[in-house]
Amino acid sequence: MTAVTHLLRLDVNGSTVDVAAPAHWTLLEVLRYRLALTGSKQGCDKGDCGACTVLFDGKARLACITLAADAVGHRVTTIEGLVTPAGLDVLQRTFDEAGALQCGFCQPGMIVAARACLDRKPDATRAEIKEALASNLCRCTGYTKIFEAVEQAVRAGKAAHVGGPASLLPSGDATPAPASGAAR
């Protein structure tokens, strides 16, 4: 079958971008190969490792198994989007300070997943941090320093939104559970 190209209007890191991409391209492919946002890594490319984790309306999502066309209408935030004119996200700083990396390949996904965790629960415990990062694999560090980096961010000023963009603030549609009675 020949490829069908769509014109997609995406909301990435707070900007609206129009991008032409084949209908079968993933969000990760569009981010990396159309928008040059190569911070999100292409690891397993099939949903196993979390290296491609981005935020979708503030919630963690695997960009390698999300169709770009399915991202229309959602706020997408990548690791690049955690940096604002005010500076780095507190997690970007604590990962650096804690030395929470070796090769660094897992790090963008780890930080983005940790950001989703702390936005939901700024005072997350070690157990909650471990659970929130369970979709992210690291082949190098043994995880301890990663958990410490997130704990450090929790301590560093109740974490929330320090340096994070305004688009990370929960909006109306980010309420967790659907209202009961919605199923028909």
Partner: protein
């Protein structure tokens, strides 16, 4: 890098639009709910759709509610209705699920990892394709081996000389929903039908669901516990390689009700991740009736009843003898999980 083959993409905004698209494209279409299973499978060349239909914008397929209750003031005798596009993350933490079917929350929470559960849906889990170590591989890998019966080939690598695929149902929530006797509501442009989940799966690993190409699962309905019961219980336990992300090597669900003095009056035990159909173990209610769920000897007898008829195959990795020996252990754990979260 795993590239997808070209397809067209459609994103209906309602169930009516979705079933119209399915009616038009039939077998050439493939539905995407959360995409957490269908996307890897597409990347492995297991499906070759011309049109992919994304359900993410169909808001009416989301939500959790009690329906039809009335007699009991708190609605506890109503049916628990879950829209097919409700995410597993919502199911695992929703107060109605925790109160009415705690085992379903446990099963949902045991699927994959947290990010997959934020994406993945209950409907997608119920409709999950079967799994096998010989099929969930890249196209290059499968081609090098000469393919197999489930896709593109003529032999089975699990059963020598086998004529049908025995890939395993690996969906955690299906095991529990079978134990609870849930009903599925299925829509198509032709109309609507309801089917008991225990009749939904068929013993063919190539396609283990009785779902026509033009049909859409819209709701999962968990019945109210029988009115005469004192209490109802459900629990889930799963053998997996790692506690994050891994599919089950053994999937075990229990559900039972007790009478007013706490004796078991009905019980169901389901074992899955073995063959294409979650297996409701025969004779469990008779063995359990009148007994107590905290009686280790009774639980051991039920575990043995399940172990006797459970024959693991090499469709899933892990020593088959070990997986079989683990059946009574995980039956015990499923009962323990249920007893940690009782309901009225």
């Amino acid at each position: 890098m795993l590239r997808l083959e070209p397809f067209a993409f459609a994103r209906p905004g309602s169930v009516d639009e979705a079933v119209a698209l399915l009616a038009k494209h039939g077998r050439a279409a493939r539905l995407i709910a959360g995409g957490t299973d269908v996307m890897p499978n597409l990347k492995h060349g297991l499906y070759e759709p011309e049109v992919v239909i994304g359900l993410s914008a169909v808001a009416e397929l989301r939500g959790i509610a009690l329906e039809g209750g009335g007699a009991a003031a708190n609605g506890s005798d109503g049916e628990l209705v879950i829209g097919a596009m409700t995410t597993l993350a919502e199911v695992e933490s929703h107060p109605l699920v925790l109160a009415r079917a705690p085992g379903l929350a446990q099963a949902a929470r045991s699927v994959a990892g947290p990010t997959q559960r934020t994406m993945g849906t209950l409907g997608g889990n119920v409709c999950l394709d079967t799994r096998c170590v010989w099929i969930n591989q890249s196209h290059f890998w499968r081609k090098s081996l000469g393919y197999c019966l489930k896709k593109d080939g003529t032999v089975c690598h699990v059963v020598q000389g086998g004529k049908s695929c025995v890939a395993a149902a690996s969906n955690d929530t299906a095991t529990l929903l079978c134990a609870l006797g849930a009903t599925l509501v299925i829509r198509s442009a032709r109309g609507v039908r309801a089917v008991a989940i225990r009749d939904f799966y068929k013993p063919d690993g190539a396609m283990n669901q009785r779902l026509e190409p033009d049909e859409l699962l819209t709701q999962i309905r968990v019945p109210a516990p029988r009115r005469s019961s004192g209490a109802s219980w459900s629990g889930y336990a799963k053998l997996r390689a790692r506690n994050s992300i891994d599919f089950p090597k053994l999937s075990i669900a229990v559900a039972w009700t007790t009478d007013r003095v706490g004796a078991i009056d009905d019980a169901t035990l389901v074992v899955s991740a073995i063959a294409a159909v979650p297996r409701v173990i025969a004779g469990i209610a008779d063995l359990a009736r009148g007994g107590r769920a905290d009686d280790p000897a009774l639980i051991a007898r039920l575990g043995e009843q399940a172990r006797k008829v459970t024959i693991p195959l090499t469709n899933i990795d892990g020593d088959t003898g070990w997986r079989r020996a683990m059946v009574p252990v995980f039956v015990k754990r499923a009962f323990a999980a249920a007893r940690m979260a009782t309901t009225g």
